[in-house]
């Protein structure tokens, strides 16, 4: 046999007109533009309701944000994987875009919920669903109280994303929305326990001081404990989420 007959030469290569991330984002948008639109409308409706009627409806947006990693998976999870692959999108790029898409949806929902809290006028006795008031007795909630609340549920939502988001990348099944809600409640309870623990630790130095029992020191320790808790919760959530994202990409 003539050796030239079996010489191996590569077939002609083709280039794609767009980059993989652009294709991945276009596909994510095509899959989820209806959900994004729904989230946007819900955010506006909740803000309106919280101004004029019921402040507690903001919780709907928070729960939806916690569920977002599950809701974006879709029922035909395996089909989506195959579609992405057939469009020349690597599994790693699919994870990157899905991660950003979930974040984007969560930011939209969380911004709506935060806005509904911050934009409302509160009377001296008004509390909202997750208030950790730093001032004892009937006093209006301060901006710090609101920011602490917001920081804590934002951290809880990020923790849920970190804990459940990986299942969205596994073939065969996606995470269940009920688990996301259960995890969110669990993480919120852990944050409450953390807050109590930090408050107890911060209060220790004041216990034996002459001003230990007065209202000023109580407010001071509460405020400090809140800030430390929010910093711990948010910091750990960001770190864990970034670490998990790297792991999802590596194991995609």
């Amino acid at each position: 046999m003539n050796p030239l007959d079996t010489a191996i030469t590569p077939a002609a290569r083709r280039e794609r007109p767009t980059g993989p991330l652009r294709r991945a984002f276009a596909l994510e948008h095509k899959h989820h533009y209806d959900l994004l639109g729904l989230y946007g409308i819900l955010a506006v409706v909740v803000i309106q309701l919280s101004w004029f009627a019921e402040i507690h409806v903001g919780f709907v947006l928070i729960l939806l944000a916690a569920r977002a990693p599950c809701d974006l998976v879709g029922r035909r999870h395996d089909d989506e994987r195959l579609l992405r692959a057939s469009l020349g999108i690597s599994r790693a790029d699919a994870v990157r875009t899905r991660f950003l898409m979930v974040l984007w949806c969560q930011v939209l929902l969380m911004a709506g919920a935060a806005w509904s809290i911050l934009a409302r006028d509160y009377g001296p006795d008004d509390l909202h669903w997750s208030s950790f008031a730093s001032s004892p007795g009937p006093a209006a909630l301060t901006l710090q109280d609101h920011l602490v609340d917001i920081g804590l549920w934002v951290a809880a939502i990020m923790w849920v994303h970190a804990l459940l988001g990986g299942e969205a990348n596994r073939p065969g099944r996606g995470p269940a929305g009920a688990r996301a809600i259960a995890l969110f409640i669990g993480v919120s309870i852990m944050e409450c326990m953390l807050l109590i623990g930090v408050w107890w630790l911060v209060r220790l130095p004041f216990e034996n001081s002459p001003s230990g029992g007065d209202m000023t020191s109580f407010a001071q320790t509460s405020s400090t404990a809140q800030l430390i808790t929010v910093a711990l919760a948010l910091g750990s959530a960001v770190l864990v989420l970034l670490w998990r994202r790297r792991s999802w990409i590596r194991h995609a």
Binding site: L4, D5, T6, A7, I8, T9, P10, A11, A12, R13, R14, E15, R16, P17, T18, P20, R22, R23, A26, L27, K30, H31, R76, D78, D79, E80, R81, L82, L83, R84, A85, S86, L87, G88, I89, S90, R91, A92, D93, V95, R170, P171, G172, R173, I249, R250, H251, A252
Partner: protein, 297 residues
Amino acid sequence: MITDLAPAIAVQDLSVHLPSQRRFGGAPHHVLRGIDVTVPSGQVTALVGSNGAGKTTLLRTLSGAIRPSAGSVTVLGDPIGGPEDALPAGVGVVPDQPFQPDHWSADDMVRILRKMEHRVDAAGIGRRLRRAGIDPGTAIKKLSAGQRTRLVLSVVLGAAPSLLLLDEPFARLDPLAREDVLDELRRHQAEGEDRAILLSTHELGSLERFVDHVVLLHEGKVLLEGPLLDLADQHLVATIPIDPLPPMRLLRGHRRTGDVLDALVATEDAVFLPGNACLRRATIQDVLTFTLREAAR
């Protein structure tokens, strides 16, 4: 001659273990077990096997949708398998059921295709859709199962892919549509000498004239691989009375009917059979059926 082209697909020692569907404690499912497969350029390769043999998993792994547990996969010269590996341009994938969302239409699919490939023959796609009786604006969910397959195939062929991966393309087609699709594929194949097709199917009988190369999968392993004509030429079907018992070690699969055995034998072993054996040329369907029967035994 076609052999001067690199293989369209080269699979070496590929294993795929899918995670258990049970939430806790389920063992992984070993779908593919260390297989080697070569899909030559410029040829039509059929991936044959019974249900659960691993055909669809292999096609999904080749497209990059499933992560291989071990081994290497090369598609059109590019590695596929790592998290960052993506299917190169010029590969068309047609699944057994469309993986596109139900509300998509041919127009949506062409729009996406334009983002993937420089050269899209929209007129050709329209022509194929008209032939299949599909309106380009109709959503996938409103089409019959056969029309869905033809829709996806029509769009994919619009990019003139160098490699086509087809999962059970004929399973949902009526005989006329099947002929139409075969003609489309023949035309596509004839338009470029480097074009390769890998299709999975349960039975090869009616595709004998279309297919050049065969890979037989059984329980995640490759039982047979080679050019279709060679595999058929290398075997004979012998009809042998069971009294006296023929030398069973020569038989590569057999089926008993009354007092006779129908058996597959290698052509070179035919001289060792009893003198009362009746011999005929084996078809590729005979080779596959008897081999699978033997493996199942």
